[in-house]
Subunit: 454 residues, 2 copies
Amino acid sequence: MAPDLAAFDALCDERFDRWVDELREFCAIPSETDQFPDLERAAGWVEGRLRAAGAEVTVLREEGVPPLVVGELGTGPRTLIAVQHYDVQPAAPLDLWDTKPYDPSLRDGRLYARGVCDDKGELLHRIQAVEALRDAMGELPCRVRFVVEGEEESDSAHLARLLAQRPGFFEGDGALIEGGGVDEKGRPQLVCGVRGMVYAELSVRTLGFDAHSGGAQLLPNAAWRLIEVLATLRAPDGTVTIDGFLDDLASPTQEQLDHLRTLPFEEEEIKRIYEIREFVGGLTGRAAQIADTFRPTCNISGISSGWTDAGVKTITPAEAFAKVDMRLIPHQDPARIAEQLRAHLDRRGFQDVAMTVFRGEHPYWTPIGDPMVDAAERAHVGIFEERPLRWFSAGGTAPMHQVCAPHSLPMVTLGAGDPEVRAHAPNESYSLDLMRRAIRVTGRFLQEFAAIEA
Amino acid sequence: MAPDLAAFDALCDERFDRWVDELREFCAIPSETDQFPDLERAAGWVEGRLRAAGAEVTVLREEGVPPLVVGELGTGPRTLIAVQHYDVQPAAPLDLWDTKPYDPSLRDGRLYARGVCDDKGELLHRIQAVEALRDAMGELPCRVRFVVEGEEESDSAHLARLLAQRPGFFEGDGALIEGGGVDEKGRPQLVCGVRGMVYAELSVRTLGFDAHSGGAQLLPNAAWRLIEVLATLRAPDGTVTIDGFLDDLASPTQEQLDHLRTLPFEEEEIKRIYEIREFVGGLTGRAAQIADTFRPTCNISGISSGWTDAGVKTITPAEAFAKVDMRLIPHQDPARIAEQLRAHLDRRGFQDVAMTVFRGEHPYWTPIGDPMVDAAERAHVGIFEERPLRWFSAGGTAPMHQVCAPHSLPMVTLGAGDPEVRAHAPNESYSLDLMRRAIRVTGRFLQEFAAIEA
């Protein structure tokens, strides 16, 4: 091992307990989507932490938008952009948490808190890794630019516009994206893409007010109306049936399908973790694996109408709404999908259904053979026993198209997640062992990344 | 006018303001379904009011069940049973009320409060009418038995069992039921039947916990699963498609269809009140009128799954539920319908869907030519200008089968409702003018009822 890496590893050991305390402090801020004072506090916390690490920090602001915190460290010809966020998914339903979501709790080597994995833990451990490498080496081998936004969980509606205030912020040679970590068997994963998304709320009003259900033979029920609408969007086997939705979907290439064969698909383990008997559409084996990577989705995140408390109430509801998120695969375009959805509704006579689209994200996939992915693989040597696996895409979404597309940057994950993290769900957690290892990998990656020949 | 009726009318005028004050007091008790201390208070209020009117009162109790209050006044060979309730539908959503639901408010000749129409106003004005008639005449022309329960809004699950403690309570010669009043044009209505009901909660769990929606290509979504289920229960035109649901439905007779032609159907007025453009299935005119009377329903009173608060959250929900009420027409049997629904689900592979049935009610329709209905018509002379209309059934449900079926009693409404009452909805109200007239009609009806020859 190079002497600077030995020094780096020693610093990591020395600082680790303090780093965990920092993470607890960061996670105690309930910076949920749209919760402005808390989003501001979290942005301030990130700004302070980056400054403490010696970064040059710029905070970009726009009225009504969580601030975008950009921090830069190091010098050199190559620049790595780390794209992170300080906002978190709402913690509700609170009664399903074993401990309070904003009172981080350490149990069996895992820290439990909303956002501890997605994305506060990962953001913080990257800052910690960069700082420790700089301290160990005297200087960083490359430039590192943290781009830390506060509306990733609501789809990064203003990220591109905020970044456009400083076009230079898009310039670089590669990007680290959120997510990644190890799979069900503890094998490190290099994820090279993200799905796109359209998030839409569909709502309908059929009556001036909730009516006694004794009139349901004639009075239109908003819940039934919405169910009629939703039933046209997706077949029970999971196929999205919105007119035109699949038009721009790239079929997997033979090369992609061949690579997919080399990747594990831990069917029984996934079913065990989620306590399910069957995947959507009853898919198994190879078909399920292909769908897992290449099938776009239309998911209901929430639906509500009428009386939803305990007990009996007999009304014909006047209003109903559903929140629908569609995860996109290259080359689906979120704006086009939104138009197609509206046209799909109108064509079927659902003009009475209002549709509010929260701005979407494009999918963005880097070829899995990119030299930056090779560099990421080398960074794992000595930290994990198994060779990392290269994945085409995460199931989730991040604004990588906004950040990477202008200069066609490659991107990859280097994460500390595992299948137990429960991102977006109650009892979100982060493995401290994986955090410790991910910090070491990140330090090594900076060296490998700096050495890539242009 | 007979001298005793003149004296009765004078007493009604003299007491009216006090009667309205009593109604305000009664409506201030938030005796919502399952709210036990308040249900007990309301039962006590009714007991006290009946005793004050001179009734002999029996309170029937069972552990965990709102008390059944039975009060009897008068003597004579004929007995009229007035079936009422002191429980009310939940007032939520509270933000849609212009004034507080349990702080009764008088505006433009209407009293606004939860339960003011359904059924506290009607219960109270009947007691007031009976008391005033007795005071005016010296004695009542017949026996009147008030049967006042506290779980009508949750389907009278224990009424038959409580009444069975005193089998004599079922004996009589006819029953006044809740509901009725005037239609859109102010014409009095004599409603001779009630619909039955099955109220079921359908719920499904597809995952151990809410998952990040980035896994929706394989992880089954409870909302989608429930929508698949619900979409099999009813066609968009309103036809209930539960296997066997229509098997026991009696087709309307030619005589019924002929009578229906004599009844008004104020299509535009109904649409105006409910602010709707189209009835279910696009029905209009005669077809809509027939459906309004003879079509059973499958109504969603409420549905919920996943994230239903404001803003964006991207999860695949683990659980979903819907509350479904089915209103039944002779000779649909609620127990059989519940069995058919379960079999319908199982036949389609929905064994994972749990079904909780709250006990149902049978429909109960008295022939519209019954002598008691004739008596009710005569009672309106002089109080309303127009002749009352005879309706086969209310859209709503009441436990009349439990009360009337053992001795095949005829039943009819004499109400003070109108299309603006908003029963079960926010801003429920009661017209004081109609209350004043309904009290006079009720006094006259007692005399007419007493004179019917067996």
